[in-house]
Structures are given as C-alpha cells and as structure tokens.
C-alpha cells in the first residue's frame, strides 16, 4: 500500500506539468506577448520591449535552441517551471505584492465561506437523499426529486440577487456586504447551500437507490433488520464509495472559493482575487493558483483511494 501511495503521489509531476503547460499555452501562446496587456493600450514599442526583456517574454517559448548546449533551458516555460519548483510564486503585477502573501490572505476568507457551505450542504443532501430513498417510489420521493431538479434549474445568480435584495437589503435580516464578523457569512453560506443542495440530493439518492435493490438488503430485511438500521448501517455504508469520490474530489476546489458569492458579498477571498488577476493579465497569480490547485487535486485523489480501503475492506491498493 505504501508503494502504491508513493507511486500515485508521484503522478503530481506529470499532472502539474500538464496543467502548467495548458495555462502557459493559453496565456503566452494564444494570448500573445503579455507585455502588451501589462503596458496597456497606449504603450510605446520601446516600453513593450523593456517589459518583455525584464520579464523574459522575449525569450523562446519552450527551448532555447539557438544557444544549444549550455543554456538550452533558458526559455519561458522551463524558467516558469523552475521558478515554481523553488516554490517561488512570483509577484503580482497590479498590486506588487508577493503572490504567496496574497494567497495566504485570501485563503482564510475563502475557506470561512466554502467549508461551512460544503459541510452543511453535504449533511443536508445526504439526509434528504436518505429520506427520499426510504420513501422510494412514493409521492414524497417523487416530490423531493422534482423540487431538487427545480432548485438546480435556477441560476445561482438569481438566488444571490433575490436573497441579497430582499433578505438583506429590504428586510435587513442580514448584512449586505463585507467581511467583518461571522454574521456576515450567514447569508452567503445559506445561499450556497440552497443553490447547491438540489444537485447533490439527486446524486446521492441515485447512489442510495442503487444499493437499495441489492441482494444483501433483501437478506437484511428478511432476517428482520429494521428499516432505519438498513438505511444507516447497510445502505449508507455501501453507498460510501461514490459519496467519498464525490466529496473528496470537491475539497481541493474549496480553496478557489466561491467566485460568485465572494464577488456579490465583498468577501476578500481567493475567488475574487483570481477573477481580478485574470482581467488584469496578472499571470503569476493564475499560474500559482493552478499550480497549487493541481497538487491538491492529486493529493485528494490519493486520499480518495485510501478512503476506499477504509469504506470497503475488500479493496486492496496495489
């Protein structure tokens, strides 16, 4: 198992390399020389050249073939990889801050928002899904499914706008904007849960119903196990694999925050930071974001595999 985990963790190298390559391709190859974006519309050619030279945009993209043996890797992409490998995340162009500082500052507000949202939604979705599975085929089940699908058919924007306008602004139940005390997070978290729970309920219900019709459930029922015990001890336990897959894979994306909620409610998290960076052509922030994201993603994948062995002892990692 140890060897398996190490092998899987090593896949972080090709995955991260691929992620950086895609991002690099987007911003430097399709996007053209970033110096034009940095310098603005009225820049002189000399200024462009100066920025290009300072930031190394005048170097070849992938390999420096002109200076073949001694500085082959003196090119944009290898330099970027080298910089990130030294864990140097660079500097933001617009705020002149270190990207690592910005990430550290944005991390906390983002997690304050996404973690409670994620937990609440998960608990609520699994409870409702168990409820629907318990009443499977009846009008309660069908009603829950329809309501879930209806809930996921409304744009997240609309949830936010309506709640912010009526609940916060008109009725003054919640603060409208800002990040000053935990109370400021209540409404965004609630909106996030309501907007997201429909899809999750539908997913978990499907997973649980699939287990409901297995032979071992029939056996359990035949030997007189009570319905709640069947649901919690048998169905939930066996539905754990798809649930875990779904849950753990979502965790790395928590750190990018909730773009919409952060924007609407003025929460200074990573989501807002990333969107701003994208429009300011602030590449270092984007590269840092996807770099960390891909590492977390690989780690989450490995944790999923380990969790499988815990949820289902029949699974062996080799």
């Amino acid at each position: 198992m140890g060897a398996y985990i190490i092998r899987r963790l090593l896949s972080v190298v090709p995955i991260t390399l691929g992620v950086l390559l895609i991002t690099f391709f987007l911003f430097r190859v399709i996007g053209g020389n970033p110096a034009y974006r940095i310098a603005g519309k009225n820049a002189t050619p000399a200024r462009i050249q100066q920025i290009s030279h300072e930031r190394g945009y005048d170097k070849p993209l992938f390999l420096n073939l002109q200076q073949f043996p001694h500085s082959l890797f003196d090119a944009q992409f290898p330099r970027l990889c080298g910089q990130l490998m030294r864990l140097d995340l660079g500097e933001s162009l617009s705020t002149k801050q270190r990207v690592s500082t910005m990430l550290r500052q944005g991390f906390f507000p983002s997690l304050c928002l996404t973690v409670p949202m994620f937990m609440l939604e998960l608990a609520l979705a699994i409870t409702i899904a168990l409820f629907a599975a318990y009443f499977r085929g009846s009008w309660i089940d069908r009603g829950l499914v329809i309501v879930s699908v209806m809930a996921m058919s409304i744009s997240a924007l609309v949830y936010i706008m309506v709640a912010q306008y009526w609940l916060a602004s008109e009725w003054r139940l919640f603060p409208v904007w800002g990040f000053e005390s935990p109370y400021y997070l209540v409404l965004p978290v609630l909106i996030g849960v309501v907007a997201g729970v429909g899809g999750s309920v539908r997913f978990y219900r499907t997973v649980m119903l699939d287990e409901m019709y297995q032979d071992y459930i029939r056996t359990a029922r035949a030997k007189g196990v009570s319905q709640p015990a069947i649901l919690f001890r048998h169905v939930l336990r066996n539905a754990m694999i798809p649930i875990l897959t779904n849950v753990i894979i979502a965790i790395p994306f928590l750190y990018t925050g909730a773009l919409l909620l952060e924007n609407f409610f003025g929460i200074p998290g990573l989501g807002r930071m990333t969107v701003t960076a994208l429009f300011n052509g602030d590449e270092d922030v984007i590269f840092a974001d996807v770099f960390i994201g891909s590492i977390l993603f690989v780690i989450a994948n490995v944790i999923t595999d380990i969790a499988y062995t815990w949820a289902d002892p029949r699974i062996r990692l080799k």
Partner: protein
C-alpha cells in the same frame, strides 16, 4: 447491431401483449411516451424550439438586410416601464421590450448549446473511442490529458480560455467574417465550455468502447477482415451513439446556467441579449424595484433548464437504465 441493441434494452420492462417493439429507439420511445412528465417536458422543449427558430428569423432577417434588428433599437421615451399589455415583460434601461430580449436570449442559449457541442462531441467521442478501443499507450495518453483538464477548477479554466480566445478572435483577421454574424464573446465562451466539457463524454465513450471491443459482433467483424477504423466507427458507433444524445441533453442545461455566471464574471456574450446579460443588467435596477427584467429571463431560463433536466433523465432511463448508476459512480 441488433444483437447488441437487444442486450442493452433487456432490463427494460417489455410489453408482452402488444406487437413487440424492435430496436433500441422504438423501445425507448415507447417508454418515454408512457412517462407523462417526460412528455410534458418534450412539449415545453418543442415550444422553446419554435421560439428559437422565430428568434433566428428575426436576427437573420435584420442582418441580411443590413438594418438594426428591432430588439436592439432604443426607445428612450419608454425606459424602465413595468409590464403592460404593450410590453408583456416591461421595458429595460434603453426602452427595449424585455419580452423581445428574452426571446433573443432563447436563440443565444440554443446557439451556445449547439456551438459548444460542435467541439465537445467530436473531441470527446473520437478521443474516448481511441482510448477505449486501442487501450495501452493511446489510452494512457488520453487519460492523462483529461486528468490534467480535470484538475484545473472548471470555471477558472473556462474563464481563462474564454478570455484569451476572445482576445485572439478579435485580433485575428481569420475570424472577421464569423464575428460579423456570431458575437465574439459568445464564440469565446463556447470555446471555453467546449474544451472543458469534452471530458465527461470522453470518459463515458471510453468505458463503452472498452466493453464493446470484446463483444462477439466486433470479433466477428474483425474475423471478416474489417479494419480498426471501420470497426470503431461503422460497427461500434451505432451501438454507443445514444450516449451522445443523453450526454448532450444532460449537458445543455448546465451550459445555459454557466453562461449566466460567465456573463456576470465579465467574459460572456457582449453585444447580444443573452439570458445571462439580461440578468446581469437587471442587477443594477433591481435596487430600484425593477423586478421584471430579472423575472423574465429567470423564468425563461428556469423552464428550459428544468425541462431539459427532467427530459434528459427520462431519456437516459429509457435508452440506457444502467447508465444512471454508472454516471453516479464516476461522477
């Protein structure tokens, strides 16, 4: 093909009394027809499609004659009016009829669904088929490719692609003839959603090709001397084509919702009234109590997305009941 079709359809409750339906599609249609909810959704979708065709008519009529389309003409004397008989959904900040805007939004929604699928379906299908059919190194490479795409937060990658591609489209003389008819912002988000959305289809098709390449009909075709390409696209393809349709009908509602979010974040459609841009514009005047702008687009979007979601589910259950859990397990 018929052999495979019957094995796939076997879990369906087959009607023993009536004349036995033949083939996957007839059986599926029969089951759909019995599903009242699915039929209601189908009618709703038909109604939207009529609206879409009408909106395309309005758009192309104005474009080909070189005049400004009516939905883009401003009437500053009737700005921000609440719903009335003349303007069922009121008017917006430029005095344009909100109902007309919402109708055009239907056109944009359909265009997004179709254009994105023009990227997703060929890319996802061909890569999935190659990976599943050949296995080994090709499979490893394709799985690697989609793992990489998967490990970038979806909305971020879509935004980045859309943002960069938009700039490239606007600069490139190649696209000038295209952007005269299709908004460059719309084209850009279709690129963004297309180059991220192929992953789920690819995964699905790959799994199916894995199963089918060992089936007897494939072995028989190979024994008769059929080449790989012919087996992949002439023999296996008809047996998995229904997955593309299911995948499309379940992906389409997501695209419509994503478009709204992208518009808010500033990378959406720029010069045409999409539901996203309408909602986004409405945001500024909701604070003045102008609820109708928001309501119109929201309701239009809600019923289309709802009908697509429910119909997609029913279609999947009718065409391939095993798929539901397969999808749930792979996410």
């Amino acid at each position: 093909m018929t052999a495979a079709a019957t094995t796939m359809a076997s879990p369906l409750p087959t009607d023993t009394t009536a004349s036995a339906p033949t083939g996957l599609w007839q059986i599926a249609w029969r089951q759909l027809r019995r599903n009242r909810l699915a039929m209601v959704c189908l009618w709703i979708l038909a109604a939207y499609t009529v609206v879409w065709v009408y909106a395309e008519g309005v758009f192309w009529n104005a474009h080909l004659r070189g005049v400004t389309p009516t939905y883009k003409i401003s009437h500053y004397d009737i700005r921000n009016q609440p719903p009335s008989l003349a303007h069922l959904l009121g008017t917006n900040y430029a005095g344009r009829d909100n109902f007309g805007q919402v109708v055009q939004g239907t056109r944009i929604a359909y265009e997004i669904g179709l254009l994105t699928s023009l990227i997703v379906i060929p890319l996802g299908f061909v890569l999935g088929a190659l990976a599943g059919y050949f296995g080994r190194k090709i499979d490893t490479a394709i799985v690697y490719l989609y793992s990489v795409v998967d490990s970038i937060p979806g909305i971020l990658l879509i935004m980045a692609i859309a943002y960069v591609v938009r700039g490239a489209i606007d600069r490139s003389p190649l696209f000038q003839n295209v952007t005269r008819y299709i908004d460059s912002g719309l084209l850009a988000i279709c690129f963004g959603m297309g180059f991220t959305g192929w992953v789920s289809l690819c995964r699905l098709i790959r799994g199916e090709y894995f199963k089918h390449r060992e089936r007897q009909y494939v072995l028989a075709a190979r024994a008769l001397g059929a080449g790989d390409l012919s087996i992949m696209f002439r023999h296996i393809l008809p047996n998995v084509a229904h997955l593309v349709i299911i995948n499309f009908s379940l992906r389409f509602p997501g695209l419509i919702l994503t478009e709204a979010v992208l518009s808010y974040l500033g990378v959406g459609v720029s010069d045409e009234p999409s539901w996203g841009t309408i909602i986004n514009d409405a945001k500024q005047r909701l604070w003045l109590g102008n609820w109708w702008e928001l309501a119109g687009a929201t309701i239009a979007m809600f019923f289309l997305v709802l009908a697509l979601n429910l119909f997609g589910d029913a279609l999947r259950d009718a065409l391939d009941p095993k798929l539901r859990t397969a999808e749930a397990k792979t996410g």
